[in-house]
């Protein structure tokens, strides 16, 4: 939650942007130049794995005594842990006995500034023992830790701690639990599911609907869940992306900055339009999912990033959410 006056500083090349958490809630929507986009050697292939996948979000407290040089050792230990848990009877796959291989990779360019820790990717692959020697490993689960401009958080942290507040997982939840418990035991950290409130979802849809896209964009969709009914009812409200962007352009006053008031005006326009046609007050319902051409997000903390250009911006927002859940 928000506790008192919180100032979040975003360091960029030579400039500082201040966000005052108390009086005027502003966010910076043009992310500052970050290592991800400016590093010449960034392979589009490298980050391709991030796109178009549904990632489940978690907030992670700082890891104690995590050493990047020991990645192969950690991979070995995690692999042994998973094998041991399996033997204990916590089988994750029924039927074919799968041998799980663990790979830990450091993604040096996947971070915002020099002050961020580089992202850490964990991948679980299986090689079926029954198949031939030439069979390839099949990726069964992946998860990665990241920090995109989370410097405000890492500033105040002690030396032995590594700050990677955002964790994203894709794959069977049983694997997520296994990997999560190993990390929690080994580095004395804590994983928590990151839920996204309707308020934060409305920030996201406002920010992303206003993004400039060169290709034809998909519709902006908002899904609402209606409370207090005997049978749950979901309302889906789809808006043509150009209309949404046009509306946002009339609302946003300062390029590169968004205020809570602007987000409210944007949402109120959408609600009013819907009410005019259907006589339903969407503002009395719960916004549960938003979808744009840039990314989609669900209140249970599930996100899909669709556009590589805006990846840092989306990650920056998610990092901020993760940090506020930790604090």
């Amino acid at each position: 939650g928000q506790k008192g006056k919180k100032k979040i500083k975003l360091k960029t090349v030579g400039q500082r942007y201040f966000i005052d958490g108390q009086r005027e809630k502003k966010k910076q929507c043009d992310y500052p130049p970050c290592l991800l986009t400016h590093c010449e050697s960034v392979d589009a292939q490298k980050i391709a794995f991030l796109l178009r996948k549904a990632w489940t979000l978690y907030s992670v407290t700082p890891l104690f005594r995590f050493h990047r040089a020991r990645l192969t050792e950690y991979a070995r230990l995690l692999s042994a842990f998973i094998a041991a848990e399996k033997r204990k009877g916590l089988a994750v796959e029924v039927g074919v006995e799968l041998d799980i291989k663990v790979a830990l990779t450091s993604l040096a360019d996947l971070r915002g500034s020099e002050l961020d820790q580089a992202a850490l990717l964990v991948q679980l692959s299986s090689r079926s023992q029954a198949s031939s020697r030439n069979s390839e490993d099949k990726l069964v689960w992946s998860g990665w830790f990241c920090s995109m401009f989370g410097d405000d958080f890492s500033e105040n942290v002690l030396e032995d701690f590594t700050c990677l507040p955002l964790f994203l997982s894709h794959g069977a939840e049983s694997y997520t639990t296994l990997v999560g418990s190993w990390f929690q035991k080994t580095f004395d950290c804590c994983f928590r599911r990151l839920a996204i409130s309707p308020l934060n979802l409305s920030w996201m849809v406002a920010m992303w609907a206003g993004c400039k896209l060169d290709r034809a964009a998909s519709a902006v969709e908002l899904v609402f869940s209606v409370p207090c009914l005997s049978q749950p009812l979901d309302i889906s409200y789809a808006i043509h992306p150009e209309d949404a962007k046009a509306l946002w352009d009339t609302v946003q006053k300062t390029p590169g900055e968004i205020t809570q008031e602007e987000v409210d005006v944007f949402m109120d326009c959408l609600y009013a339009h819907f009410h005019r046609h259907f006589k339903i007050h969407l503002s009395a319902t719960k916004l549960v999912k938003v979808s744009t051409a840039v990314a989609s997000a669900h209140c249970d903390g599930i996100v899909k990033i669709l556009h590589s250009q805006y990846l840092p911006g989306v990650l920056m927002l998610l990092t901020e959410l993760a940090i506020s859940q930790i604090q």
Binding site: Q22, S197, L199
Partner: protein
């Protein structure tokens, strides 16, 4: 509804009548039958932006004299941070604009509901003039002091 019952259940030595309304203005037909109003509590559900809008429009129908301490905003549902549809800063600004206190509570929990009922009852006693030496105007000056902080 439950809050009203909780308030009535609290031990007190004076009579209260509670009128629940979805919005203002109250229907004018019963104006002459209505007793003196000592306190107006505007309830805002943190999960519903609509409730905030409703309160904002209803405020226009309240006579200015009520804002000398006889109005209070009650924000409910704060137990579930993840279902929040309203910016709490906006509610606090509303409280400041109307010089009225903003209370936060979670009515789903019986304990908190009881505590909230007690607080409202206390405020009501002061507003009705039952506490000698303390008037509703004290709320206004208390609000101003915390603002300076």
């Amino acid at each position: 509804q439950k809050l009203a019952e909780a308030i009535l259940q609290e031990k007190k030595d004076f009579n209260i009548s509670i009128h629940l309304a979805r919005s203002l203005p109250l229907p004018s037909e019963r104006d002459h039958l209505r007793p003196r109003i000592d306190l107006i509590v505007f309830m805002i559900d943190i999960k519903s932006k609509y409730s905030l809008k409703n309160v904002e429009t209803s405020l226009a129908y309240v006579d200015a004299s009520f804002f000398l301490g006889k109005v209070c905003f009650l924000v409910t549902g704060v137990g579930r941070v993840n279902a929040c549809s309203i910016d709490t800063n906006a509610v606090c600004k509303l409280g400041e604009a109307y010089c009225s206190p903003v209370l936060f509570c979670e009515l789903e929990l019986e304990g908190v509901r009881g505590a909230t009922a007690q607080r409202l009852l206390r405020i009501l006693q002061i507003c009705a003039g039952h506490i000698p030496g303390v008037s509703a105007l004290s709320f206004v000056s208390l609000m101003r002091k915390s603002d300076v902080d």
